[in-house]
Structures are given as structure tokens and as C-alpha cells.
Symmetry: C2
Subunit: 362 residues, 2 copies
């Protein structure tokens, strides 16, 4: 039987949870929700699915040190730093090469590091079913998240007829992938019941991925060859990655492989899921006070409702007479922003970058 | 000729400019406007009016150390700490006793420590005229501030007919003192042109004050006797103040003496004046950016107008997508509050006080 592997993609720029998150300390390295960094929570969640030696983390050079610090129990060699970001198709190609070197028939899951999932049992069972599906046929299994609202921030997967069941979980053929929709379109998707959120969770075998790369992304498949050679010769990866990565096309795995493949299936998730995209999404994971305020650290809110107040290091953050505000204080920087404007944080960070010595806050 | 003295009243609780101000570091000890503490600015302003040995500062025990640190050039013995606060009548009585010991006919000005005045020349000339008036007759000279808006936060002085001029500055008899008015009443005061703001600035001679104390506040006059005795015997004041002060009635000089006296006159000010009562009043003393934001320290505002953003210690405070907000960050505490709610800071500080170890932030 083919071995099972987990590849956790731990990338991200660290902008949306600024000032807690930074370029070298993005969301998955923070306990945005819970007490452990989201990456550590993800590792804990997948441990029942594969032995530690089969769990890999792909991260970026700038985050490598911090990532290693929170990946206790994972072999050091299993943490791979991309020298430059080349989007998810390159990361999946790299993952396939690494897994192939361990087991040419290996089946691996690609999972984001920074999602919040509380129901670990359902998550484990869904992924076990996805592994079973990927073992049973030459398919690309996507985990589709059942939408709870007409979100416009995610891509959607339209399911077609039911294909099969695995462990009593139905798996469907895929009609199509669709990009982030407008509100009205998202509402029709939600109403139809046929659409699932694409959360970037995939399970597939090495041969299926290799074949898709050759067929749909031949340039990438060829460019990855020196990495396969280095792995075969047991050479350290750092040197070859540094040479090869800058030459790789920057393209998402959705666009490069999934949208072009006809053997894609989708397993609708049965677990709770939240990608916690920005500060406003954090609130629902905290217990609010009687006025709907959530806080971490030393916070006082007077005459205010539904605020998010985070403080660090024993600093006292006080909010008086205002609603729906986000206040996040860290040792060297503070953000004050209405929940409704949190999506404009990039514009703010451009101004911060322009400050004298501004890079130190990014 | 009688000597001239200046008595600066440096009290205040340090609530309205929290978290920059604290009980032991109230407004007059901060450079709320300008680069020096307001008390230091006040001392600098009165230096042309009296020699340093004739300038006194009356403060409170909790602030004494910090006050001494910013009163460079004033003799140490001239800084007197009240062991407990007993409002302004007690402070004026104490001031009269101290001045009397230097010159029984001395004329002294009582001035608040925490006002912002830029036109020092006009201030000096107005006070010189007030000293001349207090020298010329047995009057209590008040400096009345010409109102610029129908303020409801000040008491008013209604002037009567012109009494005399000093140094070409007209001085008027006083019709009456009135408490803080309602808005419509304040508007009628502003329209009439006969009303001036009572800014707590008085010039008078020792005999005039002593006589008024005996006549209108005999209990206070008697209670102060041990202080006069200690001064006459050159004993240190601290001991006797500690004994006497708790027994003194807590009453304002306006209520105890001025409202009851018939020899009160008013000199309308010719200088600019601002008591900078709370954070929102600070903005007009700073140069705003193109969007009306004012800041001190490291601040970035994106998509926001008319905000006040103060930071300390190289900490970066960022404000995104909000208008008319006050954000004040200090080493151990931060305040976030709309300008319109700044008057409710006392309610916030009650919550802070209730925190475990909350007193350390007050």
C-alpha cells in the first residue's frame, strides 16, 4: 500500500494581521485563535493521519527560522524553505518531488497552515476518506468547504454528479472551478447548494500530480528536474532550490493543474472551517463580554460595543465611547481601525513602508 | 513701594489628559502644547513680572517631586506642597500668609499653572496693569478672558461700568460672578459683550485678601493662624501644613471671597488664552496635515481626517479609515476615544481603577 504524506504550505505575507503579523512572522506563526500558533495547531491536527517523518512543511526563507521553532517533533529535514515565493503550483511540484523520493506511489495531502478548525475528529475522517479516494483511483481530490454565507473572498468548486463514497463520505465529480464571485453570484451559489469553497486542500498521489504537471504545466515539470536529481543523489536541497526557484513560473496550482484537469473530484467537508482572513474574523472565536467586545491581554472598554481589543506585554489598552473598532497593540506598533476598513490595511502598510526605517515594522 | 509676587497654583488631578497625565503627573507637568511642561511655560511667562525669589508654586504632596523637577530657577523654599487638596480659598489664604511674611503690604498675583498663552508680551502688560490697579486701590483685580465662543465649561464675570485705566488698559467694576451657564445663556453672554470668562487669575494685596478672609471666611482665616505663626518663627512649613490643612474648609476662592466682595474689578485680557480642557482642545495648537490630522511622535493615518494621534518612545501608532478619533499611546497605557466622548474619561478611569493593580495606571 502506498504511504501517506502531509505537506503543509506555510506561506503568507503577514499583512492582514499586522501589527501582530509581520513578513517574518505571518498569521500561521501566531496564536491568532487559540494558544498555539496556527501552524502548530495544523501539525497537531494531521498527526493521526501520517507519521511525523512523513509530515513536511514548505515555507519561505524569511520565515524559516520562526517556522522551525514551532514545528517541534517534525524532522528538521522535512522543513523546506523556498528561497523566493513562486505560488502554489511550484510548491506542489516541489512537494511531489520530495514525496516521490520517499515513495514513488505515495499519496499526499497539501494543506494550508493557517486555517482554524475545531472539529479535529471530522477533519481527520474527511481526510482519511480523501486519502482512500486518491488511493482508489487516479483522481485529484479536493476538500470543498460547505459555504455558510455568500462569501466573495473565496474561489468556488461546482460539484457535478456523485462519483463514489469512501468511509461513508460522498465524493462528487467536479463541474468547474470558479474565481471569487460578485455578491449576487455568490448568493446564487449559496442558494443552489452545488457550490463549495475552495480552501486549497488537496489529496492526490505522486503519479497523478506528476502526470498533470507534464500534461498541463510542462515548463514547470522540466524546471523542477534538477530538484528531483538532487533528491535522488541525497544532496542537500538548499543549493538547488536557490538556483531553480527563481526560474519557476509564478502560478497557482488551481490555475496550473486543477482547472485544466478532468479527473478532479470534491469531498464536501464535514468539519467547521474558518480561514480567519483578517482581524474582523477573529472576533467570533473569542468569548465576547456582555457588550460584544472581545479582548486579549489588558483591555478596558467603556461605553463601546463589538470592539476587538488586543494588547501585549502588560500594556493597558482602553477604548472609550466607540463601537466596531479594532485596536491591536504590540511592543513596537499599534493599529486602530474600524472593522469595516480592515481590508485596506495594505494601503496603510505602504505608508508605514515609506517611513524612515519603515521596513522594521513590516 | 510694595513688592510684587507671583503665586502659581499647580494642582489638578491628571484625569483629563490620561494616559499622558496621571495623578502624580497632571497636565501642568506635561508639554501638552509646546516643548516644555505647561508649569515651566507659566514660570517663564511671569519672570519679567517679579524676581525669582518672589515666585511661589503651590502644589500637592503627590506631585511635589515632579513639580520641583520642572521649576528650575525658583528657590526650593518657594515650592509649597499642600498635604491634602482644600480647593482654591485655602491656597489663596496660604499664599497671603507666605507673601505677608515677606512684605505685609505685598501685592501678589494668583495664576493657574496649566493654561496655554502664546502672546507673552500682552500677558505681561495686562498683569502689570493689574498690579498697578491693585496698588492704586483696595481692590481685588480679576483678569477676565474675552470669550471667543459660547462656552459652557467656564464661569463668567459680568462687568459693570468702567472704573479706571491703568497703563492704558481699562478696568471695570464687576456686576456679578456667574456659574457655568447653559448653552443658550452662554450665547446671550457672548452676544452682550459684557461677560468675560473667569480664568482663576487674580491680583491683590495682602491686606485686601486678609480683610476679605476675616470678613467672608472667618473660619478659614482663623484656621490659617498656626501657619502664619510658623512663618513668623521661620519654622519649616511642612509640619504645620500637615496638621492644619485637613481642618480647612474645602471651598473655592470665587465662592468664598470674590462673589461676596464688593471691591472686585475686572481687567479684560488682551492676550490669547486656552485652558486646553481635554484632548480635543489640543488639536488647534498643532499644525494639522492636509487631512486635518495632528500628531506627535511616530504616527501614520490612512484614510482618516481630523484625528489626534500621540505616541511616545518610538512606538508606531497607525490609524486606518476613521475620523475624529483620539489615540494617545504611552509606555504603559493607550487611550482610544472619539473626540465627542473625551468628556467621559472619568467613567473609563473608574474601570481602570477597578482592575487588579489598577492604581498603577492612574
Amino acid at each position: 500500500m502506498a504511504q501517506h504524506f502531509i505537506v503543509i504550505i506555510a506561506g503568507g505575507k503577514g499583512e492582514r494581521f499586522w501589527p501582530q503579523s509581520r513578513a517574518a512572522r505571518p498569521k500561521h506563526l501566531l496564536p491568532i485563535v487559540g494558544t498555539k500558533p496556527l501552524l502548530t495547531q495544523t501539525i497537531d491536527r494531521v498527526k493521526p493521519l501520517a507519521p511525523a517523518k512523513n509530515i513536511f512543511v514548505i515555507t519561505s526563507a524569511v520565515q524559516e527560522k520562526a517556522v522551525r521553532a514551532v514545528c517541534k517533533g517534525i524532522p528538521a529535514a522535512n522543513i523546506i524553505a523556498e528561497p523566493v515565493g513562486r505560488d502554489t503550483a511550484a510548491a506542489v511540484g516541489l512537494a511531489a518531488a520530495i514525496v516521490a523520493e520517499r515513495d514513488p506511489q505515495g499519496i499526499f495531502a497539501v494543506l494550508p497552515a493557517d486555517h482554524v478548525i475545531h472539529d479535529c475528529k471530522a477533519y481527520e475522517a474527511d481526510l482519511a476518506a480523501a486519502f482512500a479516494a486518491a488511493e482508489a483511483a487516479e483522481v485529484m481530490v479536493t476538500i470543498g468547504i460547505k459555504p455558510t454565507e455568500p462569501a466573495t473572498g473565496f474561489g468556488y468548486i461546482q460539484r457535478a454528479a456523485k462519483w463514489k463514497s469512501f468511509n461513508r463520505r460522498p465524493v462528487f465529480n467536479v463541474q468547474r472551478f470558479v474565481e471569487k464571485p460578485k455578491k449576487e453570484v455568490a448568493e446564487s451559489y449559496l442558494a443552489s447548494g452545488d457550490y463549495l469553497w475552495n480552501a486549497g486542500m488537496f489529496v492526490w498521489s505522486v503519479p497523478v500530480v506528476e502526470k498533470a504537471l507534464v500534461q498541463h504545466a510542462p515548463e514547470l515539470a522540466i524546471a523542477l528536474q534538477p530538484i528531483r536529481a538532487a533528491l535522488a543523489q541525497k544532496r542537500p536541497l538548499a543549493g538547488v532550490l536557490k538556483k531553480v526557484y527563481p526560474t519557476l513560473p509564478k502560478i497557482s496550482v488551481d490555475y496550473a493543474l486543477l482547472e485544466k484537469s478532468t479527473n478532479v473530484v470534491v469531498l464536501p467537508s464535514s468539519f467547521d472551517w474558518d480561514d480567519v482572513g483578517a482581524w474582523p474574523a477573529v472576533a467570533k472565536h473569542f468569548k465576547p463580554d456582555a457588550a460584544g467586545n472581545v479582548s486579549r491581554g489588558l483591555a478596558v472598554v467603556e461605553q463601546g460595543r463589538n470592539n476587538i481589543v488586543f494588547s501585549e506585554g502588560g500594556h493597558l489598552v482602553t477604548v472609550l465611547g466607540v463601537d466596531d473598532l479594532i485596536v491591536v497593540q504590540t511592543a513596537d506598533a499599534t493599529l486602530v481601525c474600524p472593522k469595516s476598513k480592515a481590508q485596506d490595511i495594505k494601503a496603510l502598510l505602504k505608508q508605514v513602508e515609506a517611513l524612515k526605517g519603515g521596513a522594521k515594522w513590516l
